[in-house]
C-alpha cells in the first residue's frame, strides 16, 4: 500500500465525526478521534530505524501530472520528526480535550472535524516534496487554525483573533507561493529534492534572493516572528487544547520546518543567513521581554512561544553558516535547533495544558487573581514546575541541554568571518544572554505567581481543586518526557535529532552519525556557556524577586505605538477606504452601472479598433440587400423608436417584442433556422414574463433626469451601436485565420454522430460552454426565487451574538 494515503487518513475520518457525535451520545466523540493519531504514531514510528540509518522512504500519487503537481509523502529524518510530533502530541491533546470539553455543552462535531483536518494539513506540509502541494497544505493549516480559533464564534475576541491569524498567515502564505513559483521557474521542477540537487544551475540568478525573501515571509508569518507575531497572542482565544497543539507544538513550527527544509537551497545566500538569524534573535528578545508584561496565563505562554520560536529560528540561521566554514564550531547550531524544537514541543505542551487546567478549575487565567494554588493542586504544580524550569534552562531538565547548545552556537558566531559577522557577530551572544535572563524571569513568573504566594481563593469564580486524573495524564506524560530528555539526550539525538539534522544539511553529511553531537550536561569549568547559564540564574533570580519594582516599566509604552494598533489601523483604514471608494461610483441604480459598462465597452472597442488599424471594409462578399430586409429593418427601427418614446410600460414592452421578432425574421432571411427558432421563443416568453411581472413595477417615470443626462445616454447608445456595427463589418472583412466551419463540416457526421452543426456545437464541440451556461441559468433561477420568496430581512439573521 502507498503510504502517501496515510496523510489523508485524518481528513477521511473527519467525514464520520458529525454522525458519530449526533448518533452516539453516550460516549465522548474524542474517544473515537483518539484512535487516529495513535494509529498514525505507531505506524510512522516503524520508519525510525530507516531514517536513523540515513535513508528515506517515498511514496507518491499524481495529482495534476501535466503541470508536474503531485502528492508526495517523503519521509526523511526531518519530516519523520515533525510527523511524530504531530501525531504524538496530537494523541495527547485529543486525550486532554476529552476531559476539557464537555460533551453536552460543546459542539464537539465541529471541533474534532477541524482538528482532524488540521492533522491532515500539517502532515501534508511536513511530508510533501512537491512545493505546490506543500503550499496547498500550508494554507489548509491556516484555514483549520482559523476555524479552531473561532470555535467559540459567539465571542468577539475569538472572531477577531481568528480573522487576524488568517489575515497574517494567509498573506504570508501567498508571498511564499510567489517564492515557490520563482523557485519552480528557476529550477524547472517543483520537487524539493530535485531543486536541491540542481542548485548550482540557478543559484546565481538575481531572482534567487527574491525567492528566499518571499519564502521567509511565509515562514516568519507562520512561525510568529517579529513583527508578524501579533496574531499569536490573539489566537489564545482558542480552546486550550488547540493552543497547546497548533499554537505551540505544531503549526507555528511549520515556519521552522520550512526554513530547515530550504536551508540546503538558500544557505549560500547572505541575505538568508542574516534575516533568519537576525529576525530570530530579535523575536527571541522581544518575546521574552514582553512576556513579563502579560497578565493572562495563556498570554505569557503565547509570548514565550514567540520568543522560543525566535530562538530556534536564530539557530537555523546559524546552522546555515556551517555551509560557509569547515570549522566544527558552527556544526552545533542545526543540532541545537532541532533538539530545542523537540524540547520546546514537550515542555510548552505541558505548560499549556496546565494553564488550561488552572482556567478550568478556577474559572480565571488572570495571574493577578491567582496565587497559592500549590496546596490544592499539587500534581498540576509539579508538572508546571518541571515544564517551567525546563523552559528557563535549568538542570536536570531537557531544556537545559538545548539552552547550553544554543548559547554555545551563539558564542561561536563571533568567530565567523564572512558577511560582516566579524564586526556584528558579538551582538548575538549578548542579546541571546539578555533574552535568556528574561526567559528565566517569565518562566518563574508563570509558575510561582500562580502556584505559590498568597492564597486568594475567595476572589476566584470557582472553588479551586485538583483536576480529574484524565486531564492530568497528558501533561504528566509530557513532564516525564521533559526529565527523560535530560537523562537520555544522546539516544534521542541518535534516533531523532541527528537524522533530522542530516536532512536539513544533506550536502554536509552522508550519515546521521556524523551529524550527531554528543550532548552532555557537564563540560568542565572551561566551558563558557556554563558560566553564562550561571549568570542567567543569578541575574534572573534577582530580577524575579524584584519584579514588583520594575514591572511598571511596561506601562510606559503607549498603546498607540504598538504593532497591534498598527494592524487595527490598517484594517479599519482599508475597510473604510474601500467602502468610500465603492460608494463613490456605486449609487445603487442599475442604469448607472449599465452606463459605465456600455461607455467603457464602446470607447475601448472603437479606440482599439482604430489604434490597431483593425478597421477594414470589404464589400465584395456582402449579400445583396432585398426589399424584404429593408422593410424588416424599418420595423426594427420603428420599434426601437417606440420603446424610447412610449409613455407607459405596456406599449414599451410590446414594441420591444416587435424589435425582437424582426431580429428573428432577419435570422430566417439569412437561413439560420436554429437561431430564428430560439429568438422567436425567447421573445415570446420574455414578453409574457414582462406582462406577468408588470403589475409589480412602479409607474414609468423619469428619475430626476435632465436633458443633459438624456444627451449622455443618447451618445453612449449611439456609441454602442456604432462600435458593434464597426466590429461586425471589420470581422467580416478581415479573414486572419481560416474559418473553423470546414472542420465542423468534416467531422460532424464521423466524429460527433450528428447532422445539425449548430446543435452539435452546443452539446458536443463546445459542451463545456453549455454546461456552464445551464449552471448560470440555475443559479439565476434560484437567486430570483431566493430574493422574492424568502424575503430575507434587511439585517439578516443575527447569528453572531447569542
Amino acid at each position: 500500500m502507498e503510504f502517501v494515503w496515510f496523510i489523508f487518513l485524518p481528513a477521511l475520518a473527519a467525514l464520520f465525526i458529525p454522525t458519530l457525535f449526533k448518533r452516539v451520545t453516550g460516549i465522548h466523540t474524542g474517544w473515537f478521534v483518539l484512535i487516529i493519531p495513535i494509529v498514525l504514531f505507531a505506524y510512522y514510528s516503524t520508519y525510525l530505524p530507516l531514517t536513523a540509518s540515513g535513508e528515506h522512504a517515498i511514496s507518491s500519487f499524481d495529482w495534476i501530472p501535466s503541470l508536474g503537481i503531485s502528492f508526495v509523502s517523503y519521509l526523511d529524518g526531518l519530516s519523520l520528526l515533525f510527523t511524530l510530533l504531530i501525531t504524538g502530541i496530537g494523541a495527547l491533546v485529543v486525550l486532554y480535550s476529552i476531559f476539557y470539553l464537555d460533551r453536552h455543552k460543546e459542539k464537539l462535531g465541529n471541533f474534532y472535524v477541524y482538528l482532524l483536518l488540521f492533522m491532515t494539513a500539517m502532515l501534508g506540509v511536513v511530508q510533501s516534496d512537491n512545493i505546490i502541494s506543500l503550499y496547498l497544505f500550508w494554507e489548509l493549516t491556516s484555514i483549520s487554525s482559523f476555524l479552531l480559533i473561532g470555535y467559540w464564534y459567539t465571542r468577539d475576541g475569538s472572531r477577531f483573533g481568528a480573522l487576524k491569524s488568517m489575515m497574517i498567515t494567509v498573506g504570508g502564505g501567498l508571498m511564499m507561493l510567489g517564492g515557490f513559483v520563482i523557485l519552480g521557474i528557476l529550477g524547472d521542477t517543483y520537487s524539493i529534492r530535485e531543486l536541491i540537487s540542481g542548485l548550482s544551475n540557478y543559484s546565481g540568478d538575481p531572482l534567487f534572493t527574491l525567492a528566499a525573501v518571499l519564502l521567509l515571509f511565509g515562514a516568519f508569518t507562520k512561525s510568529a516572528q517579529f513583527p508578524f507575531y501579533i496574531w499569536l497572542p490573539d489566537a489564545m482565544e482558542a480552546p486550550t487544547p488547540v493552543s497547546a497543539y497548533l499554537h505551540s507544538a505544531t503549526m507555528v513550527k511549520a515556519g521552522l520546518y520550512l526554513v530547515a527544509r530550504f536551508t540546503p537551497i538558500f544557505a549560500e545566500s547572505s541575505v538568508w543567513i542574516w534575516l533568519v538569524s537576525g529576525i530570530g534573535l530579535l523575536t527571541l528578545m522581544w518575546g521574552s521581554f514582553f512576556a513579563v508584561k502579560q497578565t493572562d496565563l495563556k498570554g505569557i505562554l503565547a509570548f514565550s512561544t514567540v520568543s522560543q520560536l525566535g530562538l530556534i529560528m536564530s539557530l537555523l540561521g546559524a546552522g546555515a553558516i556551517a555551509y560557509h566554514s569547515d570549522d566544527t564550531l558552527f556544526r552545533f547550531a542545526m543540532f541545537a535547533a532541532i533538539f530545542h524544537l523537540v524540547n520546546h514541543a514537550v515542555f510548552k505542551g505541558s505548560l499549556f495544558m496546565i494553564a488550561g487546567i488552572v482556567d478550568h478549575e478556577t474559572g480565571t487565567r488572570d495571574i493577578r487573581k491567582l496565587g497559592g494554588l500549590m496546596s490544592v493542586m499539587p500534581i498540576s504544580f509539579t508538572v508546571a514546575f518541571i515544564g517551567g524550569l525546563s523552559m528557563a534552562g535549568i538542570p536536570p531538565f531537557g531544556g537545559f541541554l538545548s539552552k547550553e547548545l544554543f548559547l554555545d552556537s551563539m558564542v561561536a558566531l563571533k568567530h565567523f568571518e564572512l558577511f560582516n559577522f566579524d564586526t556584528w557577530g558579538i551582538l548575538f551572544p549578548v542579546i541571546a544572554w539578555i533574552a535568556s535572563v528574561f526567559t528565566f524571569v517569565y518562566s518563574f513568573y508563570f509558575v510561582f505567581k500562580t502556584f505559590t504566594g498568597e492564597k486568594k481563593f475567595d476572589k476566584l469564580p470557582l472553588k479551586p481543586h485538583e483536576a480529574p486524573i484524565g486531564m492530568l495524564i497528558s501533561p504528566i506524560i509530557l513532564a516525564i518526557s521533559v526529565i527523560a530528555l535530560f537523562f537520555i539526550p544522546n539516544v534521542v539525538g541518535k534516533w531523532i535529532v541527528a537524522p533530522a539534522v542530516m536532512a536539513a544539511q544533506p550536502q554536509l553529511y552522508s550519515l546521521p552519525s556524523e551529524a550527531a553531537v554528543h550532548v552532555q550536561a557537564w563540560h568542565g569549568f572551561e566551558y563558557i556557556p556554563m558560566w553564562l547559564t550561571v549568570g542567567v540564574i543569578a541575574i534572573g533570580a534577582l530580577l524575579f524577586t524584584s519584579i514588583k519594582k520594575w514591572q511598571p516599566v511596561y506601562g510606559l509604552q503607549p498603546e498607540k505605538l504598538s504593532l497591534n494598533a498598527l494592524y487595527d489601523g490598517v484594517m479599519t483604514f482599508s475597510e473604510k477606504g474601500m467602502n468610500k471608494l465603492s460608494r463613490f461610483y456605486m449609487n445603487g441604480l442599475i442604469r448607472t452601472y449599465l452606463l459605465y459598462m456600455f461607455a467603457f465597452f464602446s470607447v475601448m472597442t472603437i479606440v482599439v479598433l482604430f489604434a490597431k488599424g483593425a478597421f477594414k471594409l470589404d464589400m465584395s462578399s456582402l449579400s445583396p440587400i432585398t426589399l424584404f430586409a429593408v422593410m424588416n429593418a424599418i420595423v426594427a427601427i420603428l420599434g426601437t423608436g417606440m420603446v424610447i418614446m412610449s409613455k407607459n410600460r405596456i406599449s414599451a414592452i410590446i414594441a420591444l417584442g416587435a424589435v425582437g421578432y424582426s431580429v428573428a425574421l432577419f435570422f430566417v432571411l439569412f437561413k439560420a433556422p436554429d437561431l430564428a427558432l430560439t429568438q422567436l421563443v425567447i421573445e415570446t416568453i420574455s414578453v409574457a414574463l414582462f406582462l406577468l411581472a408588470f403589475r409589480h413595477l412602479p409607474a414609468l417615470k423619469t428619475h430626476g433626469e435632465t436633458k443633459q443626462n438624456k444627451l449622455v445616454n443618447g451618445i453612449i447608445a449611439i456609441g454602442v451601436g456604432l462600435s458593434v456595427t464597426l466590429v461586425a463589418l471589420s470581422a467580416h472583412s478581415n479573414k486572419l485565420v481560416a474559418s473553423i466551419s470546414q472542420y465542423y463540416k468534416d467531422t460532424v457526421h464521423t466524429e460527433a454522430g450528428g447532422g445539425n452543426i449548430v446543435n452539435v456545437i452546443l452539446v458536443d464541440y463546445r459542451g463545456f460552454d453549455t454546461l456552464f451556461e445551464i449552471a448560470v441559468l440555475s443559479i439565476a433561477g434560484i437567486a430570483v426565487l431566493g430574493m422574492i420568496r424568502l424575503r430575507l430581512s434587511r439585517k439578516g439573521s443575527d447569528d453572531e451574538k447569542e
Binding site: P673, D674, L677, T678, V681, I682, T684, I685, A688, L689, L691, L692, A693, H696, A752, G753, G754, G755, N756, V758, N759, V760, L762, V763, D764, G767, F768, T770, L771, I774, A775, L777, S778, A780, G781, I782, V784, L785, I788, R789
Partner: protein
C-alpha cells in the same frame, strides 16, 4: 388573472398539448435538424406560460405539481453526470459516445449520449424559467 375568459381557456387547453408535443419533437430532432434541448425547453416553458395567462398560478400549480427547483437540480445532475461519466471509461471529460440500434417502431435509430446531456439542458431551462415565473408571478 381573469377567470371568465372562456375562449382563451378552451383554446389554451388544446394548444398547450400541441405546443408541448411540438417541443418534444423539436427536442428529439435536435441532433440532425433545427431544435435541441434549449429551444425544446423554452417551448415547453412557453406552453406553460400560455396556461398561466389563461388560468391562474394556483390552477397551474395544481395541474403540474412539480417542484421546479428540483427539476433544475435533476437537469444539472444529468448534464454533469453525462459529462463526468466519460471519466469512468478512461476517456477525457465530456467525451460523447454514440451507436446505431435497431429499435422496434423506430427502425434504425442513433442513440447518443449527447441526448442525455441535452435532456439535462432541457430540464434546467424549464425548471429555471418556471421557477422565475412562478416566483415573480406569485409574489404579492
Amino acid at each position: 388573472m381573469k377567470k371568465n375568459n372562456v375562449i382563451l381557456q378552451t383554446t389554451a387547453k388544446v394548444t398547450f398539448f400541441i405546443i408541448f408535443l411540438f417541443s418534444i419533437h423539436i427536442f428529439f430532432a435536435g441532433h440532425f435538424a433545427p431544435g435541441g434541448g434549449f429551444v425544446g425547453g423554452l417551448l415547453t416553458t412557453g406552453a406553460i406560460v400560455l396556461l398561466l395567462l389563461a388560468f391562474d398560478l394556483e390552477t397551474v400549480k395544481a395541474t403540474l405539481p412539480f417542484n421546479f427547483t428540483v427539476v433544475i437540480g435533476v437537469g444539472l445532475l444529468l448534464s454533469l453526470g453525462t459529462a463526468a461519466g466519460s471519466i469512468l471509461f478512461n476517456v477525457p471529460f465530456f467525451t460523447h459516445a454514440f451507436a446505431h440500434f435497431e429499435l422496434p417502431l423506430f427502425g434504425d435509430t442513433e442513440l447518443h449520449t449527447a441526448m442525455i446531456f441535452d435532456s439535462g439542458v432541457y430540464l434546467v431551462v424549464v425548471g429555471a424559467a418556471i421557477t422565475i415565473i412562478q416566483s415573480i408571478g406569485g409574489d404579492e
